[in-house]
């Protein structure tokens, strides 16, 4: 008796014993979306397998970790601006405390803020909705990946309170400093930090499999390859990139953990190990990692600017091919982080060439985004402001990468604040500006309420002015020779000048402005939950499928599964009265 599957309406009535989904639970005869068991607070919000709830869990955890990471930035920026004076709300920042603040600021912002918000938060919430299905393919695997992620956050926070304090060997944790307590003086902090990162990797491997398989297989009927919205493409390619690049570092993390805990000598040169091996394994992961967080941000910006400019995305296929090109290219550029780290100078030549050439596809993607704005009818909602600010700020981030990609200039600029300013001009647009664009854009869909526009604009200008005030001066101090992770520049006579110190004070003031602006966002976020204007299903009059579901979408998303008739970006089609044409509306 073959399986009768009628994708249109309800889930087929299942016969006992028919092969059900992957997760090993019995083929429950309950019709989908119908009667559930008793739903308590715990099963609805904490142990839920609904992709939307899990997406929001990732987002809230990411926001909390962003506050912690931001507080660390506040502490060490105050120490840099007013050296050796107790920081209000934190206390005295001694050298080892400074090192662990800097290390964990980097690790938290990349692993526990950027990746969860961009890949897991938006990925979980948007992918099933945007490809028109009811949930992720493996709901319980999805829940397990969040739980592992939550455990990794707890383990990381635990690493701050163990004897010796948090690990202070930079987020790259280069051995031999990271591989033995005698060198890093955090015998408990270092293994715990590494264990937290390893658990977080496992969580994102599991989550990644869910995203890739759902996007590949569970597309709505009628949705061809070119009808998939760009943000879904980007999150899937990012998950593949993460999975392919994290492998060697997981092997490396096992070796480093054994070095730290068991006392083996994988990376101890005295006994045959090699410290450069870890650097290579780390950066083989490290560089694809920055594209893992860049691509979802580009996808979010693509959705936001097409909706609010009412314009079709310029050259959808070109963007897709250049994304695939960038993803493939990102595997052969990693040693530009190690030009002066002792690798063979001949290899540096190869990596200089590949690094400069990877700026071509990224440049083309940005040009296509800017070309999308041509001939548009742009309405500056807060999400559009953030979307456009991403393009403007990321241009400077990408452009300053050329200085560091050129090996000879990197001899001078390596590990200076020029590098710090460069990667903040790429990471902040990715992990903060694009995420705010996504939150302001999809908040109505997530919570069924509209966010306040004036508070949003205050938050926008505060964030942008603050951000630029921090990192433009740091380009200059970096070019002057300020090196990274140095807790006080008073000991270096060439750097202890008043001019450079005033630039550091300006940067700290910029950071304070940026932190204050976030209060506008928190107030706006919380207040709109209850007092925001109720949002219709499609407040921005957009085309993609998630706007066909009610706001907030119930469990099971769509009353009836949508069928796709056209691409996601058919805006302002000549000859139509309305300037948008949702994917699921028959011709």
């Amino acid at each position: 008796m073959a399986l009768t599957v009628d994708a249109e309406h309800t889930v087929p009535a299942r016969r006992r014993g028919a092969p059900a989904s992957h997760d090993g639970h019995r083929g429950a005869p309950a019709a989908h979306g119908g009667h559930h068991g008793p739903t308590s607070f715990w099963s609805t919000y904490v142990f839920s397998t609904d992709h939307k709830v899990i997406g929001l869990q990732y987002m809230f955890t990411g926001m909390v970790m962003a506050l912690i990471g931001g507080f660390m930035a506040y502490a060490f920026r105050m120490q840099l601006a007013f050296p050796d004076q107790p920081v209000p709300g934190f206390g005295l920042v001694t050298p080892n405390v400074y090192n662990s603040l800097v290390t964990n600021h980097g690790a938290i912002m990349i692993f526990w803020v950027a990746m969860p918000m961009l890949i897991a938060g938006f990925g979980n919430f948007l992918i099933p909705l945007m490809i028109g299905c009811d949930d992720m393919v493996f709901p319980r695997l999805n829940r397990l990946s969040y739980q592992l992620f939550f455990v990794s956050a707890i383990v990381l926070l635990a690493s701050f309170v163990v004897p010796g304090g948090g690990f202070g060997g930079a987020w790259t944790s280069y051995p031999p400093l990271s591989s033995s307590g005698t060198f890093n003086h955090t015998p408990w902090g270092a293994p715990l930090w590494l264990a937290a990162v390893a658990i977080e990797f496992i969580a994102f491997l599991l989550g990644g499999i869910n995203f890739i398989t759902t996007a590949m297989n569970a597309r709505a009927p009628g949705m061809r390859m070119w009808d998939i919205p760009m943000v879904v493409w980007m999150i899937v390619i990012a998950s593949i990139l993460f999975m392919a690049s994290a492998g060697p570092l997981i092997a490396g993390a096992i070796m480093l953990l054994l070095d730290q805990v068991a006392g083996t000598h994988f990376f101890t040169p005295a006994a045959g190990g090699d410290p450069l091996l870890w650097q290579h394994l780390f950066w083989f992961f490290g560089h694809p990692e920055v594209y893992v967080v860049l691509l979802p941000a580009m996808g979010i910006v693509a959705e936001v600017i097409t909706v609010h400019a009412r314009k079709k995305l310029f050259a959808y296929k070109t963007i897709l091919y250049t994304t695939a090109g960038t993803a493939a290219f990102s595997f052969v550029v990693w040693a530009h982080h190690q030009f002066v780290a002792g690798i063979d100078p001949r290899m540096a030549n190869l990596f200089t060439i590949t690094t400069l050439l990877i700026s071509i596809p990224i440049g083309e993607m940005l040009f296509c985004y800017i070309a999308t704005l041509w001939g548009g009818s742009i309405e500056f909602k807060t999400s559009m402001l953030f979307g456009v600010a991403f393009l403007a700020e990321f241009l400077l981030g990408g452009v300053t990468g050329i200085f560091l990609g050129a090996s000879a200039v990197d001899v001078y600029l390596h590990d200076t604040y020029f590098v710090v300013a460069h990667f903040h001009y790429t990471f902040v647009p990715i992990a903060i500006i694009a995420v705010f664009a996504g939150i302001y854009h999809w908040y109505p869909k997530m919570f069924g309420r509209l966010m306040d526009e004036t508070l949003g604009k205050i938050h926008f200008w505060g964030t942008i002015i603050g951000f630029n005030t921090i990192f433009l001066p740091l380009f200059v101090t970096g070019a002057a020779g300020d090196h990274r992770r140095i807790y006080s520049y008073q000991h270096f006579q060439q750097l202890a000048t008043d001019g450079l110190q005033s630039l550091r004070v300006v940067a700290t003031v910029g950071m304070l402005i940026m932190l204050l602006a976030q209060t506008a966002f928190i107030v706006n976020f919380v207040r709109s939950l209850v007092r925001g204007a109720p949002a219709a299903a499609n407040p921005w009059r957009a085309n993609t499928l998630e706007w066909a579901a009610p706001s907030p979408p119930p469990h099971g998303n769509f009353a009836e599964m949508p069928t796709v008739y056209r691409g996601p970006y058919e805006y302002s089609v000549p000859g139509r009265t309305e300037d948008y044409w949702p994917q699921n509306v028959p011709a």
């Binding site: 050298p95 400093l177 314009k311 050259a315 400069l356 800017i370 140095i486």
Partner: protein
């Protein structure tokens, strides 16, 4: 450009500053062009009285040319930058001019040990002068240095010389520099090496030949000279 911020005190500092300026030129131009185009689109196509947007697929030849022409120009700029970079990199890190003097630099957790060749001009001889956090060099002399580390990664960075090379324990990495202008310059550790990473500054004193010989005699004299092998000797050679 960089010499506005840090003095230029070695022979290849000029090349690196020139390359920085070259890249700044190319990159600055494209950055300004892109930002101007972006902001002009934002201003020109802001929503006015609900005007309809245009329908542009970006797949037509004429439309794609707006992307592929700048695309090709950027490739040309990149090729020029790559060529310039490879030539400067070869001069700085690959082919060295013949050494007139050799020094040994050993980095350890939180101090620099410099081994000068001493009056006889040869390393590993009895009259070597070992100093801590204090390197004395003669102007207009090509120095080759052997850099290693005792415990963790460090990085020998002299901003005034535009010189940086990581010290990897278990490896001996050779590099070169040729001081040009006398003076005292900072040495910083550019690779995180634990608690004292920010507390291990050293000074390089670039002096004329006479001042250097005078210092050598004073330093090499048995009363004033430091122990030749330095603290605890080095497990690497």
């Amino acid at each position: 450009m960089i010499d506005w911020l840090t003095p230029r005190a070695s022979s290849f500092a000029g090349d690196i500053d020139w390359l920085f300026a070259l890249i700044l030129g190319f990159v600055g131009f494209w950055f300004v062009v892109a930002e101007v185009v972006l902001f002009s689109f934002l201003f020109k196509f802001r929503r006015r009285r609900n005007a309809r947007a245009r329908y542009v697929t970006g797949t037509l030849k004429t439309e794609k040319r707006w992307i592929s022409v700048p695309h090709v120009l950027i490739i040309l700029c990149d090729v020029v930058i790559i060529a310039a970079t490879l030539s400067v990199w070869a001069a700085v890190k690959q082919s060295f001019p013949p050494a007139q003097e050799k020094v040994r630099i050993v980095a350890q957790q939180w101090a620099w040990t410099f081994v000068h060749p001493g009056p006889d001009g040869a390393l590993d001889t009895a009259d070597d002068v070992t100093t801590i956090d204090e390197l004395h060099v003669k102007t207009d002399t090509t120095y080759h240095f052997e850099l290693t580390a005792k415990d963790v990664l460090h990085s020998f960075s002299v901003p005034a010389f535009r010189l940086k090379q990581d010290a990897v324990p278990g490896r001996v990495i050779t590099g070169w520099f040729k001081p040009t202008t006398p003076g005292q310059y900072d040495v910083q550790c550019a690779e995180i090496c634990g608690i004292g990473h920010g507390l291990m500054p050293a000074r390089i004193t670039v002096e004329t030949k006479e001042q250097h010989d005078q210092w050598l005699r004073r330093a090499a004299a048995p009363a004033g000279g430091l122990v030749a092998t330095g603290p605890g000797g080095t497990p690497w050679r």
